[in-house]
Amino acid sequence: MILTTVLTLAAIGLLAGIGLGAAAKIFAVYIDPRVEQIEAVLPQYNCGACGYAGCSDYAKAVVEGENPNLCAPGGPVTNQQVSGIMGAEVVEQEKMVAFVLCAGNNTLATKKYIYNGVADCNSADLVGGGDKACSYGCLGLGSCVLACDFEAIVIEDGLARILPDMCTGCKACVPACPKNIIKMIPASRSVHVVCSSQDKGPVVRKICKVGCIGCKRCTKDIPNEEIFMVDTLAVVDYSKSLRSDAPAKVCPTDSIQVIETEFTESIITPEPVEQAAAQEERA
């Protein structure tokens, strides 16, 4: 009795085994081993910064010919590894971080009304542009914080601040801001115009203590090409390296600030003689 059972089961097992083995050979799908290799070196954040639906999708795309340098959170290290697997040339990349172009916190910027509604910047923006008197300023309700997968944004006194050491440069926060004041900048830059206001000087003065009033001292008193004026707003050209803290020193409203982090280049303080000479030259 027992023997029959054992033999029957063994026979079924043998047949099933042969069947499965044959199916594995016949229906085999070729997967490029590089996909798995690339997936292994990608950080698995699935943040979407590369434009693909997650790391796995990007790995497939790279093997099919996509640019191997798109992983922002992984940074240069990951991109080198991916390029290595693909045998592509390694492109040197600068670390990019997000930066909030506003310094008007609850202490420095005035509010025009008590906002009493949904705690979300996009919702607040629908109510007359939000409660900040400045229509360009950070609303501080943290829509960017929600968008960030890396806990790289904190709200301090009604103002969003991005922590460069946590920021992977995935850009998720950029479209989340209804005021459009989060920009991607090279992490090595330390001199910033922390204002986005296109209002005229007297208006800015009335509503914010750290707003750019468009006095142009940073561009006229200190000849440089790194800062330029867009109407009444000084704007830093981040494609150029700006290492002098002179613009910050000359700014009357403190809207040009030197913010040093572990990634920033060293700051040079030009000698006053040079400034004087430059001024004389101009005169």
Binding site: N116, G117, S123, G128, S135
Partner: protein, 439 residues
């Protein structure tokens, strides 16, 4: 009068109309300054045709329409254009406006004045007069009237509804217009009916205005006057059409899709003044009310009058005034400064005191469906709101977020005080910006 249909949902807020319902509209004395915004209606803003320093006469053109869906803007009094700059706008933002410093003479420009033979005007001439006068819907939405009077040929209109429901709590401006200017309203309605070639005119009035109903009935020769149930939002176009005719405007459609045109009583009066006298729309009746204001009044004010001047005329604000709302308390816009001007679409100012304003505090949804019961559009406000909160705007659109009329019935009835309308408005804004990007 036959029994009116009942639309689904709606609410019965405290109406608080008795304060001003019996007060005749007073004329606000001439002010020193007027701020006339270039953007006062839906559609494109006007393009100014005057410069800083230009001397203008009352009724003179200040800005040309910026397109077909746009209206001209006229000087509220004679004087000088003293500034063209950004001024606080009732929308809460800063917007371009003209500051007119009055010369005190209040001199009309030539061409406005004696009564004309308006009864024999051709339809096209009436429509042109209405556009030239800068008339917009005066119930609040401020949609250019001449656009509404230009329906496409394939959508024939058979009925003109004159909206005298005035369902917003507190407001009595339309009520006073019907009592004091009934002849003008009816003549204006006949003029507009002539433009679109319809015979049937119905005036819809809520039952809480018996004197207005009587007055309109006594003058309505061949015009139907219907008494409507007192329920908010009875004065909303789609609800009013259903209540009077039993016709439902299809989703995403306009009243013209069911052969109806709706105009506010104030718009009808403005149309009459434009055709009979050539007067541009520079004056309107508003209600200044609420427990925060010393002397509530109905006022005839120029477009461009600062709210601060009106408050001063009405005896000032009490110290515990917490909120100033332009328009009614249900759909009006809260103001952060009193330096905003009255616009063509401003129906009133409501000043609320501390006890009447509650601060936002919301609890989770308890699935009671009070908002679903209240929604006059038959939507599921709680569902749309949840999708909006979770940034699922496509799904919100599938649940017909775009059909929301933002009447506020859902937020009003929610026992958990969820800001449903704000969430749905967010969804609508996101859907619109996505559609804009796609096109």
């Amino acid at each position: 009068m036959k029994a009116a249909f009942d639309f689904h949902g709606g609410i019965h807020p405290a109406y608080n109309k008795e304060t001003t319902a019996g007060l005749p509209a007073e004329e606000l004395p001439l002010q020193e300054k007027y701020i006339v915004p270039l953007s006062q209606s839906l559609g494109a803003a006007g393009n100014p045709v005057v410069e800083r320093g230009t001397e203008v006469l009352k009724g003179q053109l200040l800005a040309e329409p910026g397109g077909f869906v746009s209206v001209p803007i006229h000087a509220p009094t004679s004087g000088k254009v003293s500034k063209i700059d950004n001024f606080p706008h009732p929308s809460g933002r800063m917007m371009t406006a003209l500051e007119i410093t009055a010369d005190g003479e209040d001199r009309w420009i030539d061409g406005c004045g004696p009564l004309r033979d308006f009864e024999n005007m051709k339809p096209d001439a009436i429509k042109k007069a209405i556009w030239d006068a800068g008339i917009v819907g005066m119930g609040g939405a401020a949609f250019p009237t001449h656009v509404k009077l230009s329906p496409p040929k394939e959508k024939p209109i058979d009925t003109l509804i004159i909206n005298g429901a005035e369902c917003e709590p507190y407001l009595t401006a339309d009520h006073r217009i019907m009592v004091e200017h009934a002849e003008e309203v009816i003549s204006g309605a006949r003029l507009m009916a002539k433009v679109i070639g319809v015979e049937r005119i119905i005036v819809g009035i809520e039952r809480n205005k018996p004197d207005a109903i009587d007055k309109m009935l006594s003058l309505a020769d061949g015009i139907e006057v219907e008494a409507l149930h007192v329920v908010y939002p009875q004065g909303s176009e789609k609800q009013l059409i259903y209540a009077l005719l039993g016709r439902s405007v299809p989703t995403g459609g306009l009243p013209m899709d069911v052969g109806v045109l709706v105009q506010n009583v104030g718009t009808a009066m403005a149309a009459y003044n434009a055709c009979a006298f050539g007067y541009p729309l520079i004056e309107r009746i508003i209600t200044v009310t609420g427990s925060g204001i010393a002397q509530p009044k109905n006022l005839k004010v120029r477009v461009g009058t600062l709210v601060s001047d009106i408050v001063q005329y009405c005896g000032g604000l009490s110290r515990n005034t917490m909120k100033a709302v332009m328009g009614g308390p249900m759909m009006g816009i809260g103001q952060h400064t009193l330096d905003v001007p009255v616009m063509k679409g401003t129906s009133g100012m409501v000043f609320l005191t501390a006890g009447e304003v509650t601060l936002f505090r919301s609890d989770p949804c308890i699935r009671c469906a009070a908002c679903v019961e209240a929604c006059p559009m038959g939507l599921l406000p709680t569902v749309i709101s949840s999708y909006s909160v979770n940034s699922m705007f496509d799904t919100a659109q599938e649940y017909h977020a775009m059909d929301c009329i933002e009447c506020g019935c859902c937020s009003y009835s929610c026992p958990s005080h969820i800001p449903l309308v704000q969430n749905i408005r967010r969804a609508k804004a996101e859907i619109l910006s996505k559609q804009k990007k796609a096109s």
